[in-house]
């Protein structure tokens, strides 16, 4: 990582720290999803059938896998249009930072918290289930494929969400519009996720590895679009 990428990353974190709308979206909404997952899992009685346990844990996992999508829609949507709205885009683009340094710094600033917060809530969820849920629920949560989902699908999902959010941010004229567009664009990914997690397709290690591969490939394509769209001339021509 170059010093400039690191500088952008650190600046973004400093900025988010005092940005209430971002903090609320990045922490409170995931917290709500985590709590809902926990409540669903704790509500399973000792006599629940294996199918019922599997279904409820699957639903809880869907909620947890939505978290890495929610956070980037809030953060990544700010990356370019947020700079433009503050009037900081032109000073930033006037520095020696290259397009890639700016984009990588911005992308990491959305991706790292998305993955970290998602994993944190997953860890809290697993501990909570271990302490307060039935053994059947814990056994279902402890299956390898859910850990593979968290280990691979969560980062890939977050990456795709970050890049879609950045595209929306580059093309939009308003942060809120950017957030709405990036949220809409992620619906197809969420549909696929729901299909897997609700057992329309049986969740397994290989299923989630395939999902990871698809999401990663989509992310690579989306990244190329981000780089292509990040045209200083077009961005600057729309500044004042």
């Amino acid at each position: 990582m170059t010093a400039r990428v690191w500088a952008i990353l650190r600046k973004e974190f400093q900025d988010y720290r005092r940005n209430k709308p971002i903090l609320i979206t990045a922490v409170l909404l995931p917290l709500v999803f985590a709590v809902l997952s926990m409540i669903a899992s704790l509500s399973v009685g000792a006599n629940a059938s294996p199918d019922s346990v599997e279904s409820i844990v699957g639903s809880a996992m869907v909620l947890l896998l939505i978290i890495p999508v929610i956070i980037p829609t809030a953060i990544a949507a700010h990356t370019v249009i947020g700079e433009r709205e503050q009037g900081t885009l032109e000073p930033l683009l006037s520095t020696p930072a290259t397009d890639r340094e700016i984009l990588v710094g911005k992308a990491l600033s959305a991706w790292l918290p998305a993955v970290a917060i998602s994993w944190l809530f997953f860890a809290v969820y697993v501990v909570g289930v271990r302490l307060f849920a039935t053994d059947a629920v814990f056994d279902e949560v402890g299956k390898a494929h859910w850990f593979v989902a968290q280990g691979l699908v969560t980062p890939a999902l977050a990456l795709l969400a970050v890049f879609v959010g950045m595209i929306a941010s580059i093309r939009s004229s308003d942060v809120r519009v950017a957030q709405q567009i990036s949220a809409l664009a992620l619906l197809p990914a969420l549909v696929v996720l729901s299909v897997i997690s609700t057992h329309a397709v049986t969740p397994s290690v290989s299923t989630f590895i395939y999902a990871f591969a698809v999401l990663f490939a989509l992310s690579a394509v989306t990244w190329r679009i981000v780089v292509r769209l990040f045209d200083r001339e077009r961005l600057i021509s729309h500044v004042g």
């Binding site: 650190r10 900025d15 503050q86 006037s94 520095t95 020696p96 600057i236 004042g240």
Partner: protein
């Protein structure tokens, strides 16, 4: 028209443009700009709103690609490949301060220092110097969002100073500043001149441009005039000597026709305007002639046309 007169002919110019042009679709913002700015020169770039000044600065700062023509900044040709190298040697102060309002003044400056590749120890030293230069050291840890508009502008100026640039593009640097802060900025620009930094100053404050700039260009889509403010005035209005007497001359034609160097005179009552070749030669001779004619002189001297007169004459003349 070309502005090829630079103040320092010994070193290569800081900025050169040849036929620089920028069009946005059918709209031509800058057309055929030929300009040369010497190293260490404070160069005023004047023109009405929408004249293409900001577009010119953005082309020179590698933010916009010229539609045609060439340019060199800090000795480097303005091309996409050279963009990073050029941006490392310049700094741009846009009209809006463009600070991160949720960050402290220090964090804003640290961020930009890192983007310019300054080392940690160098950064601390330069931030202290830059804040000292704009008299904001006491606000170092304040959030930028808590500062007044004038203070934000000064922080932006400190940011522009950080990288020790060879060329600075300043767009309305005293906009929103009170008179005292404006004076401090002017003093700062004087210091930059002494440090051989080239300043490309875009401003609507013509008195400021007149006071600060070695040369000015009057620009509206293309270059109208370029030169020293006094040169432009002389070129546009000629050299005029103003005469004010206690009483009208009985025969002004006889008095003024005896003085060599007066090409034309006009006047009424006890005030006369003399168009002359060289005021320094003519004024003493006029004084002698007036005294010889028994006139009581109230005022006699070269009439100074301001840069504002020049600007309005050029811009309004163009509009008509």
């Amino acid at each position: 028209m070309t502005g090829s007169t630079a103040t320092d002919s010994t070193s290569p110019p800081a900025i050169v443009t040849n036929g620089l042009r920028k069009a946005f679709g059918d709209v031509v913002a800058v057309d055929g700009l030929d300009l040369e700015v010497a190293r260490g020169e404070v160069f005023g770039f004047l023109g009405p709103n929408g004249a293409g000044k900001t577009t010119t600065v953005r082309m020179l700062a590698t933010l916009l690609t010229p539609s045609a023509g060439t340019a060199t900044v800090a000795g480097i040709p303005v091309t996409r490949e050279n963009a990073v190298a050029i941006r490392s040697r310049i700094s741009v102060l846009p009209e809006a301060a463009g600070l991160y309002l949720r960050l402290s003044v220090e964090d804003n400056l640290v961020f930009f220092a890192e983007l310019y590749g300054l080392g940690r120890s160098d950064t601390d030293h330069r931030i202290a110097a830059a804040l000292d230069a704009v008299d904001l050291s006491a606000r170092r840890r304040h959030l930028a969002g808590t500062l007044s508009k004038g203070q934000r502008q000064r922080v932006a100026l400190a940011r522009a100073l950080l990288a020790d640039p060879e060329v600075m593009f300043l767009d309305e640097p005293t906009s929103g500043l009170d008179p005292e802060a404006s004076r401090d900025v002017r003093d700062l620009i004087e210091q930059l001149r002494q440090r051989d930094v080239t300043v490309f100053l875009t401003t609507h404050r013509l008195d400021e441009a007149s006071r600060l700039c070695d040369r000015v260009a009057i620009f509206a889509q293309h270059l109208r005039m370029v030169g020293r403010p006094d040169q432009l005035s002389a070129r546009l209005f000629g050299c005029t000597v103003e005469v004010a007497l206690r009483a009208p001359l009985l025969n002004p034609e006889r008095v003024f026709s005896t003085v060599p160097g007066i090409t034309h005179w006009s006047g009424d009552d006890a005030r006369y305007d003399l168009v002359v070749d060289d005021a320094n030669e003519v004024v003493p001779a006029v004084a002698r002639a007036l005294v010889g004619a028994g006139a009581d002189i109230l005022r006699l001297g070269e009439e100074r046309r301001s840069l504002e007169d020049v600007y309005l004459q050029v811009v309004e003349g163009e509009a008509q």
